[in-house]
Every structure is written in structure tokens, then in C-alpha cells.
């Protein structure tokens, strides 16, 4: 008698450990695939798995076996027209035919090893280059917005807020409370009067006193008002602060001739990193791409990263455009504003003080965080010095000089420092 066991409820991820080991082992190849993928994908689109290609020979497991050559005789099925002694040319490259069986033996012509990594694995690898500490809890400060919420009832307010049910309930209980002792007295008086009537003693002094009392009580009962200002209850609404869950991220980049594609790729990682951290905190994020040389322009992502222009550099043009866009579309009371700027440090020398002014006066007070990276190996120039001035005034301004991808992270370190209350 066979025994049947239903194993389906058991976990299915028995291979997870092995899979993980594999990925760890081939991290370099996989990482290369990941960085290729980053170049191809949009910032907002990085958040999913990726197909990875590894040449099969890189991950083959060697076993001892024969190579091609020597004297060998093999049997195949399905003879159609061969007779003993026929001579035939060797098939080339194991493309089917009689040589088919050997092709796989010699390990030639095998395809690349292709597989899919998950979103988490992808992100891990993506962030690895940036040398992030393992457990970063984002401590982003959020813009506080207010909203009114119900908060019970109050005894005064404006007539539009009167809560009728509550008010009438109050009135009813007040009426009951005020009337019931009078009503008890009234009932007693009437009973006594009835008793006097039975013994025909209606004309006595006692009876007339009772009649008087009854009339008095009835007036008093009547005098209890149906509704009183005392009964009125108003819906109470209070304003509660809550963090805004929408953010806008401005990406500013210098696209003058001196920014080559390698620098732009570093910038892209930098922008992506900021975007990722924001996604952890905000439900809704708008991206605004502003590129500039001597004039600034709002563009879409593709154009932002992959089109080239030449010419001089006027950074303030981008800042002005950013300011305009904030005014027009992103009110600081509703949006958390973040900005990331990448540049190679070139600017017209007259323009740099203007940038500082713009930042300190207009932009910094309205943004949560402003990160500036300078991708260059040269010595700092005017723009850098002016921006240092901004940093002194506003603590939420971060700046960093970057030569390679690994330098990006320190810019963010500040951002995730726990805010001490």
C-alpha cells in the first residue's frame, strides 16, 4: 500500500540559499550586467529585477572528459541511404547531423547563461558600488501640512456647525431633569385633590390651596423651554499637522561641452540614489529635469542624460528656472522639495555670487535638502567657494567633490544622520 503525502504546503524556496551563493560567487559578472542595465534604464524604472547574461564558459564546472580527436566510432539511428564503406565529409561546427552528439561534449556553441535576478538583488548590487552601510533608516524630514479632523463636540461655535442630534438629545435630557420633580409634586397635589373630591370636601381651604398649587406647578412646568442655548452642541474640528507625502525632486545638470558621458553617468547614479531614498519616504514623487549651459531648459529624462550641447555655463539660469517652477507648480506648503545638482565646477565668474544669493535667499528656505556634486579632478573654482558660503548659512545644503562613483555616498551620509530632537 502506497503512502500519499501532500508536500505542497511545505515551503518552495529550498533553493534560495543556493541561488544566493551563486549570485555571490559571480558578483563581478552580475555587477557588470547591473551597471549596463543602469545605463539603459530610466531613473524611476530601476526599481525592478534584471535579466543577467553570463558567458557559459565563465561559470562552467570542469569535469574530466575526452576532447575531440582520436579514433572514435559512434552509432546513430535513422539511416536513410548510407551503405557500409561510404565516406563523408566531417560536418562543420557540430551543426546537427552525425556530429551533433559531439558538439555538446566539447562544450562549444553553448549559449550564454541567462537568468533573472530579483528586484532586491538588483538594488543590493546597485547600491553596493556606493558603499552604503547596511542598515540605513531614512530619517528624512518631511514637510508638515495641516488638515482639519473631527475632534468631538464643543458647547460653542458657529451656527453652521450645530450638531442637531446632539443638541436635541441634550435638550430632551434637560427637560426631563428639570420637569420631573415638578411633575411629581403636581401628581401628588392632584391625587390629594381627587381624594378631597371623593369626600365632597371641595370647598375647603385645603382644596383651594391645592388648586392654586396645581396651577402654579403647571405654569412652572410649561416654563421649562424646549431648547435652550445651554443644549446646543457644535461639531468640533481641530487642525492636525501631518507630513506631506509628496515630493518633487529637481535634477540640475550642467550640459556644457566639458561634461562628457562618463561624468553624466556618475551624475545619473547620484540622481538615482537620491530618487531611491525619496521613494522610501514619499508616496508620490515628481521629477523635474533642468539642464543648462548659458540658458536653462526643462527637459525629459532622456534628453537630460543623453543629449550634448556646447557653450559656456551660467549656473544661475538653472536656479532661476527652478525658482520659477517652484513658484508656478510646487508650492512649498504642499511639496517637499529636493534638489540635486551636478556640474563640473565651471561657471562664469560673474555668475557665481548671483548663484549664492539665489540659493540663500530664495531657494534654500524652501527646499528640504539640496545636494551639489562637482565631478572633477581640478582644483575648486569660483562656484565651489561661493557654494561653501551657502553651506555655512543653510545646514541642509550638502556639497561634495567626486572623482569616482564610490565618492557619491558621503554626500548622503549627512542626509541620513538621525535628527536629534
Amino acid at each position: 500500500m502506497s503512502q500519499f503525502i501532500d508536500r505542497r504546503p511545505n515551503g518552495k524556496n529550498k533553493s534560495a540559499v543556493n541561488r544566493h551563493k551563486f549570485i555571490r560567487r559571480y558578483k563581478n559578472q552580475i555587477k557588470k550586467a547591473v551597471s549596463d542595465a543602469i545605463a539603459e534604464r530610466s531613473i524611476t524604472d530601476l526599481d525592478r529585477g534584471e535579466k543577467i547574461n553570463i558567458p557559459a564558459k565563465d561559470i562552467s564546472e570542469p569535469v574530466i572528459h575526452h576532447g575531440p580527436g582520436g579514433h572514435r566510432e559512434t552509432v546513430h539511428p535513422g539511416n536513410t541511404d548510407f551503405v557500409t564503406g561510404d565516406r563523408l565529409a566531417r560536418p562543420q561546427g557540430g551543426s546537427g547531423g552525425a556530429g551533433g552528439g559531439k558538439a555538446s561534449n566539447s562544450g562549444e556553441g553553448m549559449d550564454d547563461f541567462v537568468f533573472q535576478i530579483s528586484r532586491e538583488e538588483f538594488l543590493d548590487l546597485f547600491f553596493e558600488d556606493l558603499e552604503l552601510p547596511d542598515l540605513i533608516k531614512t530619517q528624512l524630514q518631511k514637510l508638515m501640512r495641516e488638515k482639519t479632523v473631527r475632534a468631538g463636540y464643543t458647547s460653542d461655535g458657529v451656527p453652521t456647525n450645530i450638531n442637531i442630534i446632539r443638541s436635541l438629545k441634550g435638550a430632551l435630557s434637560r427637560r426631563i431633569a428639570l420637569r420631573s420633580p415638578l411633575q411629581n409634586q403636581l401628581r401628588e397635589a392632584e391625587e390629594e385633590l381627587d381624594a378631597l373630591r371623593l369626600i365632597n370636601d371641595e370647598d375647603s381651604a385645603r382644596a383651594s390651596a391645592l388648586r392654586e398649587k396645581i396651577a402654579h406647578l403647571k405654569t412652572r412646568i410649561k416654563a421649562v423651554p424646549f431648547i435652550d442655548t445651554f443644549d446646543l452642541r457644535y461639531n468640533n474640528r481641530v487642525k492636525q499637522p501631518y507630513p506631506s507625502s509628496q515630493a518633487v525632486m529637481f535634477c540640475l545638470m550642467d550640459v556644457s561641452g566639458s561634461m562628457d558621458q562618463a561624468k553624466k553617468d556618475i551624475a545619473k547614479r547620484f540622481f538615482t540614489l537620491l530618487y531611491f531614498f525619496l521613494t522610501g519616504t514619499y508616496d508620490h514623487i515628481d521629477l523635474v529635469f533642468i539642464r543648462h549651459h548659458t540658458i536653462a531648459k526643462e527637459v525629459d529624462e532622456n534628453e537630460f542624460f543623453y543629449s550634448r550641447e556646447t557653450g559656456g555655463t551660467v549656473v544661475s539660469s538653472a536656479l532661476k528656472l527652478m525658482e520659477e517652477i517652484i513658484d508656478k507648480r510646487y508650492s512649498p506648503t504642499e511639496w517637499n522639495i529636493y534638489a540635486a545638482q551636478a556640474s563640473d565646477g565651471d561657471n562664469w565668474s560673474d555668475d557665481s555670487p548671483l548663484c549664492k544669493e539665489l540659493l540663500i535667499k530664495s531657494i534654500m528656505p524652501r527646499t528640504q535638502y539640496y545636494a551639489y556634486i562637482e565631478i572633477t579632478e581640478d582644483t575648486p573654482r569660483g562656484l565651489w567657494r561661493e557654494f561653501q558660503g551657502v553651506k555655512k548659512v543653510h545646514s541642509n545644503f550638502a556639497m561634495q567633490r567626486i572623482e569616482k562613483v564610490a565618492d557619491i555616498f558621503p554626500v548622503f551620509r549627512k542626509l541620513f544622520k538621525k535628527k536629534v530632537a
Partner: protein, 499 residues
Amino acid sequence: MNAKTLPYTSEWTHDLLQRYDEEIAKIAAEYKLDTYPNQIEIISAEQMMDAYSSVGMPVGYHHWSFGKQFLSVEQRYKRGQMGLAYEIVINSNPCIAYLMEENSMTMQALVIAHAAYGHNSFFKGNYLFRTWTNPDSIIDYLVFAKKYVAECERRHGEEEVELILDSCHALMNYGVDRYKRPPRLSAQEERMRQREREEFLQSQVNDLWRTLPRADNAADAAKLAQFPAEPQENMLYFIEKNAPLLEPWQRELVRIVRKIAQYFYPQRQTQVMNEGWATFWHYTILNTLYDRGLVSDGFMIEFLKTHTNVVYQPPYNSQYYSGINPYALGFAMMSDIRRICEHPSEEDHHWFPELAGTDWVVSLDFAMRNFKDESFIAQYLSPKLIRDFKLFSVLDDDTESHMEISAIHDEAGYRQVRRILASQYNLSVREPNIQIYNVNLRGDRSLTLRHTQHNRQPLADDIDEIMRHFVRLWGFTVKLESVAEDGTVEVTHECEREH
């Protein structure tokens, strides 16, 4: 449709599985199939992929290569490039067979007959499995192995463990015993032998010889230095016992890989027979069910469609051809043995006089028990099958400009085709003959491997990598000598320890 017919639905239920199994068990018993008790487990497709990637071991230690396997299976399955096997069966007692939940009722019945009665009886009956595997304890051993490897990873680090396992995997096919070692001598036997030797020596003592001058025994010294005394083919065993620098836990890892290799050793030599046997029995059992009116026409149509797909052999010039399909060849040979027993032709009387006209159940059982692929084909491949498959042999010699058709399915070629096909399944022909030949005990401890060439076939390129793995395990220089057909020996590879 009569009353006892089993219901035919595409959805299976636990109740139906039981009823089908009962009927199949009855018929299997009538055909005298001797099986281990069955433990049939229902699993999902994901679990099947898990089982796949651990080469069918129900519990396996963790290693990246299984992860690689899993990723590729998963990828191909998701893209629809491959269906999963309908079943996996494990040579254990009780015999564990996995059924996939996606299978229809017909498929489940097929799989039960195929795995739980076909493969199961083969595991229990075939001499290779009886000699080399221990189905009672394999699961326990695998559990032990998994825990041990995990423990080593914890203590010595995953990388360290991985290094050893990688190297062992590279030599896995050379980690099996092909012959039983003689049992250990008991202390008493040892004493007895020693006494015998003493008596013998005593009887040979002749004082006269002592005074003869001795010849200089340089040759003897060389012989003495030879270690191991005889070439060793089980490399992992040799390493486990003799590698100078391995830590005890590393030896244990070598042993684990070796034991698992040994467990799979019979399977590698009985593909055609094992699959042929199981396929023959699912075919025979389900047909018997049908003959007795237990299953409906619809059931049979669905079953036959799957069955025909399984036993299809594409011809050599088809784009689907990738060698001989073991299911097709095995099934055809098993069916052919039955045919020879029941309805022998003139030719069969001539070729198989001892088989023609005997009880097919007994003859088939005998064939299953006492052969492996190589000997099975050499013994039972009939001229009729060679004609049916239109087998022909191609001679490819790299000293010739052309390949030659050396034999086809005709009177002159039958024996040659059969001989060549049989040797194609001979592991010792398929795998290069490499043995541990010598260790330089008094010098640099270098180890010499000796490859004895067969038909001038060279080793594949990745031998370099294998040598590095070998050095990692041995700890000192490893050399590889090649012995050509004419007896000349030359050192072809040498790999030193990295410092």
C-alpha cells in the same frame, strides 16, 4: 462503460489517486514486480524546480552550482522552453516519488506506474543498485551531509568550504569504487595470517643462502618507493585517506562528495535499462488496466499521446536529434525481449536460443537484475531492433580526411553495430582512464596521475582547471602523464601549488 471503471477526469483528487494506485499495485503484483514500499509526494511546480536543481536529492547540502542549476531551470521553464519532468523518483526505502500537482489524472496514473512500480522495482532488483547503494540510510546520510556542510561553513567560512567542494565536484566522477574493496580483516584473521606467514618463512629458512653475496637492489628500492603500490582509480578516496595537508573536516567533505558520487554511480550506468524498464511497465500496466475495463478510452488516448512522445526517437538528420533517446531504446529493447519470448521468429531462434519461447516475465526480470546498459545492449539488442531503428555506425578518425560508415543495419553489420553501441554506454570507454600512479614520498611529495589513452582520444582542454583543483586538494605538485597506445609515456601537464 462498466461499473468498475475508474472515473476519467482531468482533475485528480486524493481519493482517485488512491484508487488508481490500488489497481496499479494489484497488477504490478501479478507481474511479480518486487518493490520497496512507496511514498508518493505531491509537489508544486516550484518545488519540482527545487528538486531538479539538487539533482533529485530530497535534501542536499548548499552549493552555488545547485543555485546555478536552479536559475537555469527556472529561466527555461518560465520562458516555456522546457516542460518539467512529470516525476522524480528517489532510490530510497521507502521509495519516494514526486508527483507534480499540475499533472492530469491520467498523467498521475502514468507516473505512479512508471516511477512507483517501474523505477522502484529496478532500484530494488538491479545488481548495481544492490551492490552500491544503501536505500535504507541514504536520506539520513543526506541530512547528515547537509548539516555537516552547514556546520563547516559556520566554523570555517563559506569560502573555505566552497573551495573544497568545488574541487571535489570536479573530481566527482573519479570518486567512485568500481569494485568492492575486500572486507577488513578481523584481528583474529590477521593473527592467523601472520602465523601462517611466519610458518612459511620458517620452512624456507636455509642458512646456506644467508652467506651468498647480495645483488645491489636498486630496482627493489624503486619499487619500494612506489606509492600507492597499485594505481588508484578512486581519486577522492585516495585524497581523503592520503592527502597530507587536509584538515579533518576537509577530509569529511571529500568523503561526503565521494559517497554521493557513489550513490549516483549505478544510475549513470543504467540510464537505458532503468528508463526502458519503467517505461515498459507503465505501458504494460496501463494497458492491462484497459484490457480489464478499468480505464476508459479517453484515458488511454491521453496516455498513449504522452507515451508516444516519450519514446520518440528522432533520426540522425533531424533538427531535434541529440543522441539516442534512452527511453526509446530501453522501451524498445524491453518490449523486444517480451516479443522474442512470446513470438520468436526464425532469426530470434538463431540469435537468442536461450530466450526464445521462455516465460517473458521471468526472462525480463532476469535481464533487469543482472545487467547494466553496456552488457544489456551487448546481450539483448536484436537484429530486428537494429533494423527498426535503422542504426548505423560512423567511424571518425582524425588521421583520415573523411568519416566512414563502418556498419549499417544489415547481416554483415549487426554484430558490429551492437558492439559499438554497447561500448558507447561503457563508462570506462566514455570517461578518460586516469589513475593515481605514484606519489614521490621521499622527495617533494608530488603526485603523478597517469592517463592511459584509448583510441588516441585526447583529454579536453579543461584538464588544466581539473589539475588546479587536484593541487588544491593534494597540496603539492601534481603531474599528469599520458600513456600512448604504443606504450610511450610523456608528462603532458604539471601544476604546482600556488604559494
